[in-house]
């Protein structure tokens, strides 16, 4: 089966600075994968390349065997590390927007989650706190029935209770055929959620492994192992 995300000798250089180099990866379907690494390791660059927001300097990145483009954007649901909504928009405008552009957007599911978190449909983005904006964004992204979810720091700005809700949402919303790639440095929080890890540092992949393998072979939790590998 074609991996949902594949990188072959992928490199990205920004104005003379190498962000990613010689990345070889194959992420299969049906997994929740933690993309873990310290700040500035290249996590966001890799995710943006997969979302089609950046063009590779060298090598290939393939989504379900295809280079990023209109077709892969249908399959990929991407949550950036920043707010991407216009301030004037109301929640119901956003629901309309997603329903208009994504065939696989499940409006009922989104409305149910918004209700659970007490977010009104007439609320404007302008009036929301940073954490609420992040929740709305995550809800919309997770309400798509996508093949690949790319979540860049999805839990960074929200309180621990909301964090648990979000992680539960991620687990309960993805189907067994889709893959979730979560980038974060809050490893302890996602440890129970993820199946596999990719450790990345200075634009290189240090390790790809299943969480079970780390536990059995290293006799450590992912969090402990991460601290050991990336010791400063």
């Amino acid at each position: 089966m074609t991996p949902i995300l594949e990188c072959r000798g992928l490199a990205k250089v920004y104005s003379g600075k190498t962000a990613l180099e010689q990345i070889h990866l194959a992420v299969p379907r049906g997994r929740i994968v933690g993309l873990l690494g310290p700040n500035g390791s290249g996590k966001t660059t890799l995710i943006k390349l997969a979302a089609g927001l950046l063009t590779p300097t060298a090598g290939d990145l393939l989504i379900d065997g295809k280079a990023p483009g209109v077709e892969t954007k249908r399959q990929v649901s991407y949550l950036p590390e920043r707010g991407y909504f216009s301030n004037w928009m109301r929640v119901d405008n956003l629901l309309d927007f997603f329903a208009d552009f994504y065939d696989n957007f499940d409006r009922a599911k989104a409305m149910e989650m918004l209700q659970r978190l007490n977010i009104g449909q007439r609320d404007t983005i302008k009036s929301m706190s940073k954490g609420t904006k992040e929740k709305v964004q995550l809800i919309l992204v997770m309400s798509r029935n996508a093949d690949l979810y790319l979540l860049d720091e999805p839990i960074g700005g929200v309180d621990p209770a909301a964090r648990d809700y979000i992680l539960r949402t991620i687990i309960s919303n993805y189907s067994e055929n889709s893959t979730v790639l979560i980038s974060t440095h809050l490893i302890a929080d996602v440890e129970a959620t993820i199946d596999d890890v990719i450790f990345i540092q200075n634009g290189h992949v240090l390790l790809t492994s299943s969480v079970d393998d780390i536990r059995t072979q290293q006799q450590k939790s992912v969090d402990e192992y991460f601290r050991e590998v990336f010791q400063c």
Binding site: K48, A51, L53, L54, E71, R74, R82, Y84, D100
Partner: protein, 268 residues
Amino acid sequence: MLGKLIKHEFKATYRIFLPLYCALLILCVFVRFLYSNPVQRFTSSGHWLLVLLPILVAILYALLMAVVFFVTLVVMSQRFSKNLLGDEGYLMYTLPVPSWQHVTSKSLVAGIWMFASCAIAVSSIVVIQLQFSTLSAFWRDFWEAMGYIAKDFEISTPLFAIELLILCVLFAFSAILPFFAAISLGQLWRQHRVLGAILSYVGFIIAQQIITALIYQGVYYALRMDNYPAVDGAGHIMLLLTIALAVLFGAGYFLLANGLLSKKLNLE
């Protein structure tokens, strides 16, 4: 998908333009009222504040007219840069839509607003100036003048009117498209995007002026317009040339913006 992009583009921008247009129209009705004979007789003989009122309202009207055009250019340019090249670009560029549709929807909607701004401005002048008693005379004179020019151009009056309308629409687009091309080029200077866009814009306009002047001069002499009699229908050829140049420059700016955003897009 292009239709949906256009729909959302209108949704995002009409909130700014409709109130502005309403304000201009209300103000022009007010100007007309204040400058109508009976009211003017009343205000000019009253308190100095009353004397000042029509002048102030007229100044306000003129200012608002300028603001309408300024806002059209600024809002549409800002929308282009924020929505496609700022944080909102993270949403727009992950939609399953090819890049040319983004540039097309932005250009189309911006051009339509620019045309609407011109149309509202002209309408407001008509509202102020026009005497209803002489309305039919006005139309008669207008078409008569059009007829004279059309005769000189050796074409029918309706065809001349249509060509003139096409030219107006094209001018609306060519006012906004160099801004889009300049913003798209400016984003290549990572640290100085705004400066890059401004310099690109100035460069485009200077280049456009030089090219246009050279072509006009060449055609002017080729048509022997400096002599009498000139080539038959020379005036019409000049009008068609103006249309052709507006199309060419507009297309050039559009293709440049589109090419840069589809091939060189690197959102920070």
